[in-house]
Symmetry: D3
Subunit: 251 residues, 6 copies
């Protein structure tokens, strides 16, 4: 992949434009949840748990299908200055709702809900420490927790995969890309995120298909070529993330 | 522009893939607001008002800058079946918050907030009737209401454009694109939206720059080529919408 | 009818004391609702939709009766200065609740709920533009939307009128009256409403019976004779409004 | 006063049509408030306290005027079956808001707010036991609490009545009237209220002027003559209530 | 019992350290509730009602057991300065929730819920006037209201005591104790409560067993001996309160 | 210390009655907060962060004093079955409010708020995994985070300790004790907590003084001797915890 660069370009972290931060995926981080993953994208750390419940939302009752949904939260001091606790304020903010809707949609894209039966899997993604890219880390980690929860169900015999088919097909991962000082870069940290021209979150599957693309011009509008360069970078990054998910799962 | 198509492909509305619905822009629809526009994208009708107030949010106080923000609502029976009134439920839903954040960001992209002074312009986008594409119609209509409100301020002498520069630079419009039965199509109506594989909302300026790109795979993940075809379609549609905005404003 | 007046009395609008504003009733204003009416009392414009649903509130379940209820809202910039959006504030204000309770009670007064079956008709009254008298316009318009919705049900065969009886008996309309500069006047606009001594909302049926009378002394307490003069004026105005409702319905 | 009646007419309580329930007004019922009155209309018992605070709402700041406002509540088991506690439900219902707005408006009608200075008097009306007519008892009792609070302020020298004028001019009292089994009756108790054709709440001052008139047809619409008979009954009842207020105040 | 004291020690009220305030228990204070008690601990007055309903919370449905729960409220002007009405603020405060949880737990400690059947008894404790010790007065009074409600159920035949056993076993009462100016004192009033070093609420049954002990160091941490002295004082006080409960119930 | 025991008594964990679970205290667990401690009491893990802000609540403004407060939360899947997220439900539950009030009070007991200046330290205690004793672990860990935050302030020169005095005097720690199968035991885990007769939370300082004592009879009322045995056990446990706090702080 060719990325435009100049001699004097450097990222605050010293990474190359197409370099992910160090990614760590720790399974079974807590003990009660059917899946529990602590994922780190550099200094961003998100605890993703998957909880299985034998009920579905009202709009699905009696249809023989399951549901996959997500909730997102940030501990008040996950960030540099303390944010109000949403539970104390009495409502989740727009950013929170937007992110948890994105996580839910992204993971439903790799689940055959008919095979789940009338069960709900809730993915709770709680940010312990934030340094940019919390939503992409959350999606990438939640996928691993989801696989663990489904395997737990299969092991217990709750789900009987038909013809060997698991309710989960393929993998889903996410990464941010952006234009930082004129250069397309992969996996923005907070220093880059708060100072970039364009910020894009990309969710893809392991087959190279796009599930979500959300790009926002922060400083100036971006061009078609920049969009292409960013999505190309994202493809590279997601390829690596999917490999790490597989490694973490022992596949 | 070349769009893949087949002999037996047809849209529910009978439109060609690259054809917008009939767009109408009616200024001064209500009398109190500084800008008031009823915009129709076919059967989708959104009332966009711009209100000027001599105050800014706390985080901007004393900085000599203005603010542009948006709120979005849907009348309970704008849709085929009645939705609960958000005021009665006691909160705005995630979809509402997501859309109003998008509208606000999109319009701030064409405003020099320093030139506004310490004033807030609120764009209220209320859907009277929904048939798909309410957020893109809202952005396109809100731009016209915003221009009217800024011109009202200039006329009153509240704003003195420096060196002839208005606080508004360029134009902003939005349209949806999608993959319907395998074919990229422009400006989805509800029948298409609820039955398509991919749905993407694109916000652009009149210089051909992207401000927001939000694509979601509904049925199957989309490919890089599909993304390119959709953004190309969006560019065409937005060019037409910007021309209609100019015509409505008498420019 | 005799109305006290003086040579130098004039209403801001130039109307005579017993003159209504121009009233327009536009049916089928939006397409999804079973009844949809845009009513104008001069510059006051209210969109009234009637929605039919096959369920009743908990307190009526299993009783074989239907329910008629109303919700009221005002777009944030329906008024001269922008009001906070109730959905964003997280609750409906006291004035809103008071008005929607009044609309609901008023319309239930002309419905035989047993003949409706276990169905709910919700009348959503949303003020697009306010210039005084929004609640009386809402009641008058909601009646027409209600008739349209009931006729839609009859046409579909959902309701089988017994012995030719529709669930709706008679008509209901409403108007405001007040004492403006010492003179009883009909159908106050905002300029009069904010500067009058007494403001009264009257709801009546087409048989000349009172359904609701709500009078408030704003400046000084009113006398028995003033009450009588105001209710007499209201009778005249409501007679005219009922005729316009009939005309709009093609009766 | 002539009231239509028949030989076989009787009220559940055995009262004559124009007879009030036994009214008791007990001042200084609690010790902390500047005014504290327990008022009984028969079995209806409302505790009305007046609290003086040295601040005004935002819309009055710096105008040199005071404010008088009211809040209304009902203990959960003031009624025959337990009602949810509004504090636990997280909001005041429409009926509560409607009543407290009525109480506030009614008492502001006898106060010269300029003479109060920048102070707020809050009238809390809490129903300990309900048997119909809680809002009219509340208004009648709150007036006495208000007078006590204003006299407390005068005694402390907080208010210096100009030319001997107290901020309170005249008196305000309220009573319900209705048509019960065809007969206009005064001061409905719960047994009558839940079984009457028409229910009207009337607020008047001691000069015979109307401050609020709120009539609702419950069973059938009422006629002009019935309205006149009810308001005439109310005048009689309020005359008696004002006398009792004066007696309680030792005037 | 030995209580340390000095010659110059005196309580604001003139009471001796081990002296309760005057306690009054008035049954049938209001008429609708199955049990209704006005209890006074000196100037603290709390209305405690017991309401019986034929339903249980979701977590008990179908288990054949009943439930006992409590709600607590304070009228806005029960205190020296007015507190916001919790219903108007839209939520119950932490102190309120803490107290009502305590009342509920305390009374469940003397009820055999199996003998209640699937019924809920709700104890509403509303403070009409506060002078310290509202929660302990509430518990002591709620017990009497609870007994009245259970006896009402037995009388109606709703409950058939097995082998003569009532669902209520023993009695429950509560009192506060504290260290005031170095001396352990019983039943703190507001003057003491706001100026003491340690404040402890103790709930006991009539067999001398502790149900709840909640002690808080206000000024300095307390020692093991002080804890012992306070609990000893509480035992004495609760013995007296239980005797008064019995007397009030005519036992 | 003598603890009653029998030959066949055993705790689910195999611990002796007076044995704490393994306690770990990990400082600087996250990087943004001025103090950040992950504390474990066995399988209970709580993240405690201390955030310093240059503002105080309204009731302290201009008094030259600081404030110390706490917030408590539990991740939805910290427990065996998933709990609703409080931010999504729109309010904090009674248990949460009760616990965070307890944590705040406990830590204020070791702070000289005058020496803090007009600053607020907020202790956020978020339970990552629950196995009984979350509130006592939270208090014990929050103390360490508080010390770290105050030392950070001293280092920066924000606070100038007068005569070498830090705003923090002494130490505060907490532990639970209970009667499990008739035997007083220290530091209950979930298996014991849900099956014990009495549960008591004790907060003490390093001088052996009690700050909070909260005991609840779950099964049967407890006796004076049991209270004494439990507080004696708590003293032992807190002595050990204070030593661990000192070790963690390198003192």
């Amino acid at each position: 992949m060719s990325v435009p660069g100049t001699n004097d370009f450097s990222r605050p972290s010293g990474r190359t434009p197409e370099q992910l931060r160090e990614v760590r995926i720790e399974r079974a981080f807590t003990r009660h949840a059917e899946g529990s993953v602590l994922i780190s994208f550099g200094e961003t750390r998100v605890l993703c748990t998957a909880s299985v419940e034998n009920r579905v939302p009202a709009f699905l009752r009696g249809k023989g299908e399951g549901w996959v949904t997500a909730e997102y939260g940030m501990l008040p001091r996950a960030t540099n200055t303390r944010n109000d606790r949403e539970a104390a304020r009495g409502k989740q903010g727009g950013r929170t709702l937007e992110i948890q809707r994105l996580i839910g949609r992204s993971l439903r894209a790799c689940v055959d809900r008919k095979l789940l039966g009338e069960r709900t899997i809730t993915l709770d993604c709680d940010v312990l420490q934030a340094d940019g890219g919390t939503r992409t880390a959350a999606i990438t980690g939640a996928y691993v927790a989801l696989v663990d929860a489904v395997n737990w169900m299969i092991k217990r015999g709750d789900i009987k995969p038909k013809a060997g088919r698991s309710p989960i097909f393929g993998a889903v991962a996410a990464v941010s890309v952006g234009i930082y000082r004129g250069v397309p870069v992969l996996d923005l940290d907070y220093a880059e995120d708060s100072d970039c021209d364009t910020d894009m979150n990309v969710v893809m599957n392991d087959g190279g298909g796009f599930i979500e693309v959300q790009g926002t011009a922060e400083g100036h509008a971006f061009r078609r070529e920049e969009l292409a360069a960013m999505t190309a970078l994202a493809e590279v990054g997601i390829g690596e993330l999917v490999a790490m998910q597989r490694a973490a799962l022992g596949l």
